[in-house]
Every structure is written in C-alpha cells, then in structure tokens.
C-alpha cells in the first residue's frame, strides 16, 4: 500500500475526524520519531494530477494549518511504505526541524503585482516586412526592442517588489520573489507573516494601494508556507 504525504508537522498530531484526502482516502497522522506527518494510503504509487486532486491535497494542508504551521509537501509525493517515509525523513531531520522552526507561528501571504508594460508595436510579420530590402535590419531592431522591453519589465517588477517590501517592512519574517517572466505581466511576491500580524500586513498593503491608485496588487492568503520549503528536498 503506497503512502501519500501531505505535510510534515513539528510533533505528532491526529487530523480532524473524517478528514478526507486525495480520492476520498482517509487522512491519518504518523509519528516519525518525534516529527509528525499527515498521510493517506493509496492503491497506486502514481497519482495523476487534476484540479480536483490538487484541491483535495490543499484541503488537507489547510486543515493542518489551522492549528499549527506545517511544512506542506508538493503534490504527488508518494512512497512505498511508512518505513520508507521514515527513512527518507530521518535523513533530513535536522533540515526539516530548522525549516519547521523558521515557519512556526507564521503563514504565507502572497502579493500578485501587475507590472505595467510599455505599449509595444507588434512585430512586423507581413510578407512585405519579411522580404523588403531593409527587412533584416528592421526585424533585428524590433527583436532588440522586445528584449529591451522585457528587461524593463523585470526592472519595473523589481521596483514594485521593493515598494511592497518596504510597505510591509518588519511585518514579514521572510520573502520569496518570482519576478515577471517573459510574456507575463504578473510578478509574485510571497511573504512569511507571523499569524498575529496578518491584519496589520493587509492594512499596510491597503494603505500602499490607497497612496498609489495606479498600483494593481492582489493579496491572497493565508496559505501554508509552500514557497518557503526550498532547499529541503533532494
């Protein structure tokens, strides 16, 4: 029977009664020599992702987050047995413990920022443009212009990040930034926020938004600290 992992906890704790996980399987707590984990038993080692299953995974992690901040596992972490899970986690025990300490008492809040992009002339792909006498030079100039705009977009995203970061200041314990990628005008900034500061955090962003009505930001959360588990895995 395969074991599906939802999250790791500081200490063994039983999930709420009747909490169901992926495909309606019952979730149970496991004691991993002091650390806790919430798992459920699956018939297969392979879990094909779907929006429904992603929601089920998140529902279990969210239930864990209600009482104490867990380290959320990424979707699809399946091991062959409880013993295997124990072996894998005991190898990383000290890293897991320090990660749990880092997120303890905090949640993840996420700010999505719309990065204003300069108006861009479309690339000339017409036959005349492609075969005209000056087309090669013109084409390369356009490509250079697009690349310049992408660099500008990244720089603008960086400025926005710094503005948001200074607005929330000491309210956050850590931040994780995913800059605007090419072709997208959304940048994502995740913060690790102590639970007692969530309201102050929201207010700080509300104030920032009121100060600059042109700023388009969306706040979501609280989440389990999905963005703050890097460097723990394989």
């Amino acid at each position: 029977m395969a074991i599906y992992l939802y999250c790791i906890l500081r200490a063994t704790r039983e999930p709420p009664l009747n909490l169901l996980g992926i495909d309606g399987t019952p979730v149970r707590g496991v004691d991993l020599d002091g650390l806790g984990a919430w798992v459920s038993e699956m018939a297969s080692m392979t879990v094909v992702p779907s929006p429904e299953r992603a929601k089920e995974h998140d529902r279990v992690v969210r239930a864990a987050l209600e009482d104490e901040t867990p380290l959320p596992a990424r979707f699809g972490q399946v091991v062959a047995s409880e013993d295997e899970l124990r072996a894998i986690l005991s190898e990383r025990r000290s890293i897991l413990e320090s990660a749990l300490d880092r997120v303890a008492g905090a949640v993840e809040m996420t700010v999505r920022m719309l990065v204003p992009a300069p108006r861009r002339a479309p690339l000339d792909t017409s036959v005349a443009g492609a075969t005209g006498a000056a087309s090669g030079r013109r084409y390369l100039e356009r490509v250079a212009a697009v690349q310049r705009e992408e660099r500008n977009l990244l720089a603008t995203a960086g400025i926005l990040r710094d503005r948001v970061a200074s607005a929330v200041g000491d309210l956050v314990r850590a931040q994780s930034f995913a800059g605007a990628v090419a072709g997208s005008s959304l940048a994502t900034l995740s913060h690790l926020v102590p639970r007692e500061r969530i309201e102050a955090y929201r207010r700080a962003l509300q104030t920032l938004r009121e100060q600059d009505p042109a700023l388009t930001i969306m706040v979501s959360g609280p989440w389990a600290p999905y963005s703050f588990t890097e460097g723990i895995g394989t």
């Binding site: 992603a54 959320p72 990424r74 894998i88 938004r209 979501s220 959360g221 588990t229 394989t234």
Partner: protein, 113 residues
C-alpha cells in the same frame, strides 16, 4: 480597493494549483520516475487551467466561437454561412435580372441587323 484585499479572493483554483503543483516540500529521490511523470503532467494541467483562466479574465474567448472547438460555434458558423448564401443568392438574382434586361435590349437590335 477592498476587493483585492478581501479574504474571499484567497483560495482560487489557479492559486491552489500554482502552489500545490509547483511549490512545497519534495522528498524521495528514489521515486524519481514517478516524480518525473507527475512533473510532466502537473505542468500540463497547470498551464491548461492557468491559461484558460487568465485568457478569459482578459477577454480572450476565441475557443467559444471557433467552429472546430465548440459545437455552439459550429451552429453560429452555420448561421453565418447561411447569411453569405442568402447574399450570394440575392446578388445572383440581381445579376440574372441585369443580364435578362440587357439581353432583351440587345435582341431587338440584333434582329434589325
């Protein structure tokens, strides 16, 4: 701006997928094949769901009108081509009338020759 800060915004499907499929603790080096499969599939699911949501939010909904992608659009397409057929019929009728009229004019003149 209260809408953007409202807690109700917090648990949208795209947000969930973005986290659950892309972030979080990865353990287990010895189930790499499964992980590789999951990774491939998750990326596909995420792109699909994210892109539909994002596209719809900025008003792109061409797939709702493309006859090859939706049966509704096929009906709409049929209606559209029906319009074209009607117009064509009307034009052909006018053309017939014109040729008949000019033919009627020409006939007497040829008879005089």
């Amino acid at each position: 701006m209260p809408d953007y800060i409202a807690p109700t915004r917090s648990h949208g499907l795209v947000d969930i997928l973005d986290r659950v499929l892309d972030k979080g603790l990865v353990i287990a080096g010895d189930i790499k094949i499964n992980l590789a499969n999951v990774e491939l599939l998750t990326i596909q699911v995420r792109l699909l769901v994210c892109s539909i949501d994002k596209a719809a939010s900025i008003g792109m909904n061409w797939w709702q009108h493309d006859p090859r992608l939706t049966t509704r659009a096929a009906d709409a397409g049929a209606l559209g081509s029906g319009d074209v057929e009607k117009r064509l019929e009307r034009i052909e009728q006018q053309l017939r009338q014109l040729t008949e009229r000019s033919g009627a004019k020409r006939r007497p003149s040829t008879s005089t020759e």
